[in-house]
């Protein structure tokens, strides 16, 4: 029992420490916390740690004793028109078109029957310049599907 408590404590400390050093560089980097589910009534907690090594992203789901490495994670960007707020483009150009940051990650997790479930998450980073930006999107697992929302801590 003491060992379980110790491991839990260490896991919490690790999560909090990672959150404290949350970065402003790559939009994915940091610790993300939120939930996913098939409806608003059926939700599951979800914690994701993502990092960027300069060439590729990697990550971990639900850090702690039951942590699951992320199998695949990537961010695709769609560039906007590069205009600044209220600048350039003339009066009829409308507001600037922002870039989009699209996130895709896949996780293989054990199910209660001992088999493996393959989750696929697709989302979009919202408020990408904010420290506590969010990733909002949808997920699928076999014939199940739903939505998820993560906020960077």
């Amino acid at each position: 029992m003491k060992v379980v408590r110790l491991i839990s404590f260490v896991a919490v400390v690790l999560v909090l420490t990672t959150a404290t050093i949350a970065q402003e560089g790559h939009p994915l980097t940091g610790t993300w916390y939120g939930d996913f589910g098939s409806s608003s009534a059926k939700r599951n907690d979800l914690t994701v740690i993502l990092k960027w090594d300069g060439q590729s992203a990697s990550g971990l789901v639900n850090p702690g004793p039951g942590a699951v490495p992320i199998k695949t994670v990537r961010m695709d960007v769609k560039l906007g028109d590069g205009r600044a707020q209220g600048q350039r483009g003339g009066e009829n150009a409308g507001p600037p078109i922002p870039p989009q940051f699209l996130v895709h990650f896949e996780v293989d997790a054990k199910n209660k029957a001992g088999g493996m479930d393959h989750f696929v998450f697709d989302g979009k980073v919202e408020n990408p310049v904010a420290g506590n930006r969010t990733i909002v999107g949808s997920w699928t697992c076999g014939n199940q599907k739903g939505d998820f929302r993560l906020r960077r801590m």
Partner: protein
Amino acid sequence: MDTWRRDSVLFVPGQPAIIFDAEGEGSIVRIRFTKNVFTLLTVLIAMLALVASGYAQAPQQGQQQGQGQRGGQGAQGQGQGQRGGRGQAAPSLPTPRRADGKPWIGSFPGQKPGRWNGGPTTLPQGQLDKIPFQPWARAAYDQRQIDQFEPHTRCKASGVSRQFSTPYGTEFVDVPDLQRIYILDMGGPNSFRIIYMDGRPHPQNLSPTNYGHSIGRWEGDTLVVETVGLNEKFWLDTRGTPHTSKLKFTERFTRPDMNTLQYQATIDDPGAYTAPWTTNVFTMRWSPNLDPFEYICQDNNYGPELMLGSQSEIDNTKFFVP
């Protein structure tokens, strides 16, 4: 002036006295009026001279308060007194030098401290389309043109090039005996960076910080500073040039004369760029006789709910003033 108006006897010969407060000069001129016109003319000439004197001093005061704030890129070669188009530029004094012949890069003994103003606000200026951004970094840069949600404006210490576009300028304190140069921010976080000039290498396994670890050396009259160990909690400039903790940032400072500091940086960050790149040369201007003052970034912050890390969404209608 009230006295002058109340006792307005200037044109009445024989009155005992006229008291004229020469406003702005800090002195009171007392004139005893006599009975002839010659004295009247003398008084008028004196008043005209006082007015002309006050007018002539205006550019000098403005120079101390605002010099350098407009300099920026392309201002190289401008001298003191050029602001406002009044008169011709006075030639700048030569580069101040230490006993060992190296330039004083900032304030120096025998003169009151001064500051550099007009640092680079946009590192990619003039070459944005040539910058070897990784796709995510270009997207982040573009996004920051829209949201302008900069950590520095929330009092976060912002290292390397961002130090030089902090409000109210930046002071260099060169201490040759300690083999260190301190760079003091006036506005924003009101903090400092140390450049080690003693030849030490960067430590291994640095924990990333906002100012990182800076070591400097002289290449002729140019101070070359290399900084590593930077975290990602700040922007490199006010426009949001992105970086990662893999950044190696090299700065070159050259003081060709008393009032000019040329600045150029090389960004080597494989986490955000596909190749190293070098900025254009930016010019900072010297503002003399400016002692550091206490600046508390939280003052006048009327939007604490918008501080980085606590906001729920970005409000593009507000401008943030550090």
